[in-house]
């Protein structure tokens, strides 16, 4: 790759990129506030972006990491399948074999024409509350193939021609998707977001002229690449192999799914190469990772280790080379394997595996592993609402997987999952209880659970709930019950996930990672979420941080002593303890000596 690109226009590039960013934010605002299902309007499980006509990702402000980075695969499919693309078209795409993340993410593609030329494609992607699967869940972990999974698949299907809706498609969906009115509201919101971008991009071109905007696109991608070149050059040359694994699930993946990431950093060429070809073949369940999710997960792991303001677009991606195998559980899946759960479980492990591999480059690089798994607090619940006799189905987003520690900060508490990285909103207890005939028993954080380290992982959550007076079906595909999120550079691992069924008599029974259970009135379900892994040796943690953790009940006195080597004594402000500096120094020295033998 050539290193000497023509210099960008430093002012015009700033001006127009700011406009483009504003357009994507307007798409986001439109979709967020007009959508119907809680998974979009409460949990924010959607993303917007703009691709160029030659299918390069140009901008994806505020998008979920797992959604965003493969959008150009979808626009490429649209171009490949249709040689008559025209102004006024809109396409629906959710096919994981031709560029989508997983079938639950309905993606709206609107080609934007300026003076008769296709210049951009607006992309709005939103996780649907239901897609007509054989089970009332959009994460069908046990589906042995796409037929058992059961979703309607739209490989870039034209839904509008000359701005007129193809009602046939709408009726097909309404005939096959649970809660069809909710789906239709989300459908209109997604399409509206893409159309907003079309309107604004045309205004942009009218103002600056098509040619100026085209040269901006070139400049912007070159600029982004330049930022990435500088970032990669600050890394040491290295070849890293890191392993991870998804937990075994009885009857589905009895041995779990091993993950291997082979990464080479070449600062001189300013290139990161990630080889994922040495991974296992596709598995007969919903846990296969689509190509789009593989790409996004790897890039997320890398971006988590870079300066946060580096743009995320095709220019930056030029400096990451990915080698993917065909028919692999991670890579390019082979038809008809199911990718129903592609955005979360194995992909989350992949984000973690890449971030931890970056950490092995040396002090200051990478992040620890973040909390993973969708337990009871992220289950899809369904049943009949006795208040009006209607059926409900929805995903809860009230779990709390703790965020990973980094070289500079403790874990982000409302992290949720590596693929969303804290961007998603949490449900309100009151809103969930209002919308569904259910009751929460508790929602809280677990003290002392964050993976210890110089910076510590965020704690995991503890949630329990049940139906009020009619049965409720709870389905979730969890992970993290066996292999916890790992700490890095001497940081400790996070805690594992656990789930229990609590019967009416108060007795409890542990639940397997992949659960499909119907709770009767009086029964409930409880889940502990994973905490985040720690970064660096806990004995190097600033004692003032340890003290604060104890005072604020993030940590226990026992762990402060035993793991952090900090001795606390009475006499602090406000009746709280304080650090005995001498005793702490001595204790840390003793513990370090013991560790090294």
């Amino acid at each position: 790759m050539s290193e000497t690109k023509p210099a960008i226009d430093p002012i015009l590039t700033a001006v127009i990129s700011n406009r483009i960013d504003g357009i994507v934010r307007e798409m986001t605002n439109t979709l967020l506030r007009a959508a119907r299902s809680a998974v979009i309007n409460s949990a924010r499980d959607f993303s917007c972006g703009i691709c160029t006509a030659d299918n390069e990702l140009l901008a994806c402000a505020d998008g979920l990491p797992i959604h965003s980075f493969g959008a150009s695969l979808q626009t490429a499919t649209m171009c490949r399948l249709h040689d008559d693309i025209a102004e006024g078209d809109a396409f629906l795409h959710n096919d994981p074999f031709s560029g989508n993340t997983h079938p639950a993410d309905h993606t709206f593609l609107v080609p934007v024409f300026v003076e008769g030329e296709h210049l951009f494609t607006a992309v709005a992607k939103a996780h649907q509350a239901d897609i007509g699967n054989s089970l009332p869940t959009t994460y069908h972990v046990t589906a042995k193939d796409i037929y058992e999974e059961g979703a309607l698949i739209f490989p870039a299907v034209r839904i509008q021609r000359a701005y007129e809706m193809n009602r046939d498609i709408v009726r097909m969906c309404e005939a096959r998707i649970r809660a069809p009115a909710q789906w239709h509201g989300d459908f209109l919101a997604g399409l509206g977001a893409a159309r907003i971008a079309e309107r604004r991009l045309k205004e942009l071109c009218a103002k600056y002229g098509k040619d100026v905007v085209k040269s901006f696109v070139t400049d912007w991608l070159n600029y982004s690449e330049q930022r990435m070149i500088h970032a990669v050059r600050r890394m040491p040359a290295a070849h890293v192999v890191n392993h991870g694994a998804h937990d075994p699930i009885e009857g589905v993946i009895p041995d779990g799914i091993p993950i291997k990431v082979d990464m080479a950093i070449d600062p001189e060429a300013a290139l990161i190469t990630v080889d994922l070809r040495d991974n296992i073949d596709n598995v007969d369940c919903g846990l296969n990772v689509s190509e789009a999710c593989t790409i996004s997960a790897v890039l997320t792991g890398i971006f988590n280790s870079l300066p946060p303001d580096i743009p995320k677009n095709a220019g930056t991606f030029r400096r990451v080379k990915m080698l993917l195998g065909d028919g692999k559980v991670i890579g390019r899946p082979s038809f008809p394997h199911s990718c129903s759960v592609a955005t979360t479980n194995v992909a989350d492990r992949l984000v973690n595996c890449v971030g931890a591999a970056m950490a092995s480059l040396g002090e200051g690089h990478g992040v620890a592993e973040g909390g993973i798994g969708m337990g009871p607090g992220m289950a899809v619940i369904s049943g009949r609402d006795p208040r009006d006799g209607s059926d409900y189905v929805n995903q809860l987003i009230i779990a709390n997987n703790g965020g990973p520690a980094s070289p500079r900060a403790d874990g982000w508490v409302t992290y949720e999952l590596p693929d969303g990285s804290g961007l998603t909103y949490r449900d309100s207890v009151e809103i969930d209880e209002l919308k569904h005939p259910m009751r929460f028993h508790h929602v809280r954080l677990v003290a002392g659970s964050g993976g210890a380290g110089r910076f510590r992982g965020a704690p995991g959550g503890d949630v329990a709930y049940g139906p009020i007076d009619r049965p409720m079906t709870v389905i979730f595909p969890c992970d993290g019950q066996v292999t916890p999120p790992k700490g890095v550079r001497g940081g400790h691992d996070g805690t594992r996930a656990v789930a229990w069924h609590i019967r009416a008599d108060g007795s409890t029974a542990p639940l397997p990672p992949a659960t499909n259970i119907t709770l009767q009135p009086g029964e409930s379900i409880r889940g502990l979420d994973c905490s985040g892994g720690g970064y660096g040796d806990p004995l190097d943690r600033d004692p003032a941080r340890v003290l604060h953790d104890v005072i604020e009940h993030w940590e226990t006195v026992e762990r402060a002593e035993a793991i952090y080597g900090v001795t606390l004594v009475a006499g602090g402000a406000d009746g709280e303890p304080t650090v005995d500096a001498d005793a702490t120094t001595a204790r840390r020295a003793a513990l370090k000596a013991a560790h090294s033998t």
Binding site: N18, R36, N304, G422
Partner: protein, 695 residues
């Protein structure tokens, strides 16, 4: 005081540094006083500023206060206390099992890939949070009545812990308030004198985080603000003032001081909330319609607010501090969007070779390089300085001189790296700052479904005049006002503010099965509460009062409500419901460009807003009209994107109504500098404000 004696209206805005006083006479004359804020006893600085104004009018302070009919007070004290953490030691009481309401908030963050920041601490520390055994459900049933033994035990811990305030937020207290109410009674009994706030009384809306956040903020401010406001009241009375004392609030209105002693959260962010009030008035005075965008440009931030159809716009998503990492105010407040761009914003070139502006700012210390206080980073003010927009020998009416050489030296390295000239680089910096501001305006107008082209821009703040014209041109706004009082927009707004009080209740009902009787009862109750308050203002006030009703509604399944005005609320007949639904469809279409006429509409919260107009002459005084061309005080070489142009310079004091100035030109006012760009013009209006237009 005889009938012919002048009467006055005083507004006082106490900021962190300065106390601004604005006195308006019944003759329409405005007098300004200024003094340093005295934090220990706020009245000391206020007295000094008032005395300056009184002397200019030719009265003693006692005479001025005796002839004053209305005194309006605005303070940043509550805002500053929350930002600096100097609020009371406050205990938070929550439902057992749910101790982390303030920690877990509603999720969300600004950048998914930024792992450089710790998670924000909750507004009330976890160690000050206490769980109490009780539970109410969504339908108002109470499976667990308040466990009194548990409650008494917790109160004992609070008493022993030396807490100065208590916040109580139980789940679903808005569906049945019995548990919270009983908790309040126990606090009265066992902790007399310790102020507390109950969530269902302060903010009866669904969503536990925002209700708890508002409750915690309010309780934590009570000890401080109650002492502050009572002290002020005593000092004013002792100085001879006998009429009502009003305090400005976050909904852009004013309230009796007693109301704010009861709920001081309403003073938080009240300063910025006053700018749109001023904008509405200035736009109306100049006959420019009732849609306005107000832009307030200071040294470090750019605030945007809206006036739509003569009404302020409100938001329940106002944060104390940054979005996501600050604390949600929760209460309804004037919607103001703030970005980190102002006169002090620093320009820099990133490692990809792109010019950036902000968010770093040189602040007031050391300030821009041209201020000559040791600043070396290139700021927007330095850019304006090298472009010739500022008078280096007499900046801000002669209170300051500017160091042009220092400004050039600050920009030169940046220009060198870009391979461009210093002026071209400065022009680029201002262009990029414009873009950031244009985006902020776009975001708020889009969110409210307002077309900037049909609105009037009202510009305020010390740095407003630098770039308001290119911004207006870019947005397609043809009507722009730069008020004479641009640098003190909030204080001006206080002169025009009405008494505004809101009451809210939650009652969830759908258009498919509309509970008209219950809704009517709720609206009756809200109106009754407001009328009871109105009766305390005297009979005359009732003639100037109006109550507006608003439903917070959404399509079934949505979770974010839109404010839907209710035209004629009571009693709600079937036809009224259809009209209400029709109004909601229109609002939804305005904001989101789509409507879904087939969908049921769900009504969630019901609001009543009392407004008591306070007539004022302020700003309406007509000035003598000038003849002839506007006098030119000097000329200077200025740069407007191309080569330097010899540009006429006008002094604001030399201009009179009717004067029209075509760009390029500079107008130097005592507190701001107006740049009239080529292709634009400024006209002095009959009231002395500047009306700007594109040629």
């Amino acid at each position: 005081m005889t009938d012919t004696a002048l009467r006055f209206r005083i507004s006082v805005d106490t900021g962190g540094t300065f106390t601004d006083v604005l006195v308006t006479g019944s003759d329409g004359r405005m007098t300004i006083g200024k003094a340093l804020t005295t934090h220990a006893r706020i009245f000391n600085g206020m007295r000094e500023a008032l005395s300056v104004a009184a002397a200019e009018i030719g009265l003693s302070l006692g005479e001025l206060l005796a002839q004053t009919t209305l005194f309006t007070y605005g303070t940043t004290r509550a805002t500053n206390a929350t930002v600096t953490g100097k609020t009371a030691r406050t205990a938070l009481l929550v439902t057992r099992g749910f101790p982390d309401i303030l920690v877990l908030r509603e999720g969300g963050r600004a950048n998914a890939h930024d792992f450089s920041q710790d998670f924000p601490a909750p507004y009330i520390p976890r160690r000050h949070t206490f769980e109490v055994s009780e539970r109410t459900l969504a339908d108002g049933t109470r499976p667990t009545p308040l466990d009194e033994a548990d409650a008494r035990r917790v109160i004992g811990e609070i008493a022993a812990g030396g807490y100065a305030a208590v916040a109580v937020c139980f789940l679903w207290s808005i569906a049945d308030a019995a548990n919270e109410t009983r908790m309040g009674q126990l606090l009265d009994e066992l902790l007399p004198g310790v102020p507390y706030t109950l969530s269902h009384r302060l903010l009866p809306v669904v969503r536990e985080y925002r209700r708890a956040s508002a409750t915690a903020i309010d309780a934590s401010l009570k000890p401080l603000m109650q002492e502050h406001l009572r002290g002020l009241e005593q000092d004013l009375r002792a100085s001879g003032y006998e009429n009502d004392i009003l305090v400005s609030t976050t909904v852009g209105g004013v309230m009796l001081i007693e109301e704010l002693i009861a709920a001081p959260i309403h003073t938080v962010k009240s300063g910025p909330a006053m700018a749109p009030v001023a904008a509405a008035t200035f736009s109306a005075i100049e006959g420019l319609g009732d849609n306005a965008i107000v832009c307030d440009t200071g040294g470090t931030t750019f605030d945007v607010g809206l006036v739509r159809d003569g009404e302020l716009t409100y938001s329940r998503d106002t944060w104390l501090g940054p979005a996501w990492t600050g604390h949600l105010l929760g209460i309804s407040s004037v919607d103001i969007r703030s970005i980190g761009a102002g006169g002090g914003s620093i320009g820099w070139l990133d490692d990809g070779g792109m010019l950036r502006v902000g968010p770093q700012s040189a602040g007031s210390e050391p300030g821009p390089a041209c201020y000559g206080r040791g600043g070396t980073e290139p700021t927007i003010s330095d850019a304006a300085c090298v472009l010739g927009y500022f008078n280096p020998d007499a900046f801000l009416g002669g209170r300051m001189t500017l160091d042009v050489e220092a400004a050039r030296n600050a920009i030169a390295p940046l220009a060198g790296r870009m391979g461009r000239g210093i002026e071209e680089t400065a022009w680029g910096m201002i262009s990029i700052a414009n873009e950031l501001m244009i985006k902020a305006i776009h975001e708020i107008t889009i969110a409210e479904g307002v077309n900037p082209r049909e609105s009037t821009i009202v510009a305020g703040g010390g740095a407003a005049g630098i770039n308001i014209m290119p911004i207006a041109r870019e947005l397609g706004c043809e009507k722009v006002v730069l008020p004479k009082a641009a640098s003190a927009l909030s204080a001006a707004g206080m002169q025009f503010a009405d008494i505004v009080k809101e009451e809210t209740a939650t009652l969830i009902t759908s258009s498919a099965a509309f509970e008209a009787a219950r809704v009517t009862a709720v609206l009756d109750d809200l109106a009754g509460r407001l009328r009871a308050f109105l009766s305390t203002l005297g009979a005359e006030a009732a003639t100037r009062a109006e109550i507006a009703f608003i439903a917070e509604a959404r399509y079934l399944g949505q979770v974010w409500q839109l404010d839907t005005p209710i035209d004629d609320p009571r009693p709600l007949a079937a036809g009224d419901v259809a009209a209400l639904v029709g109004t909601f469809h229109r609002v939804h279409e305005r904001v989101f460009a789509v409507r879904d006429p087939g969908s049921p509409v769900e009504f969630v919260n019901w609001k009543a807003r009392l407004r008591v107009a306070l007539p004022t002459e302020a700003g309406r005084r007509r000035l003598a009209v000038a003849n002839g061309a506007p006098p030119v005080a000097a000329t200077r070489r200025c740069f407007f994107g191309q080569g330097a142009v010899e540009t006429p310079i006008h002094r604001g004091a030399d201009l009179a109504p009717g004067h029209r100035i075509e760009g390029p030109a500079i107008v130097e006012e005592a507190t701001t500098t107006l740049v009239v760009y080529p292709g634009t013009a400024a006209t002095v209006s009959p009231t002395g404000n500047y009306l700007l237009s594109c040629l």
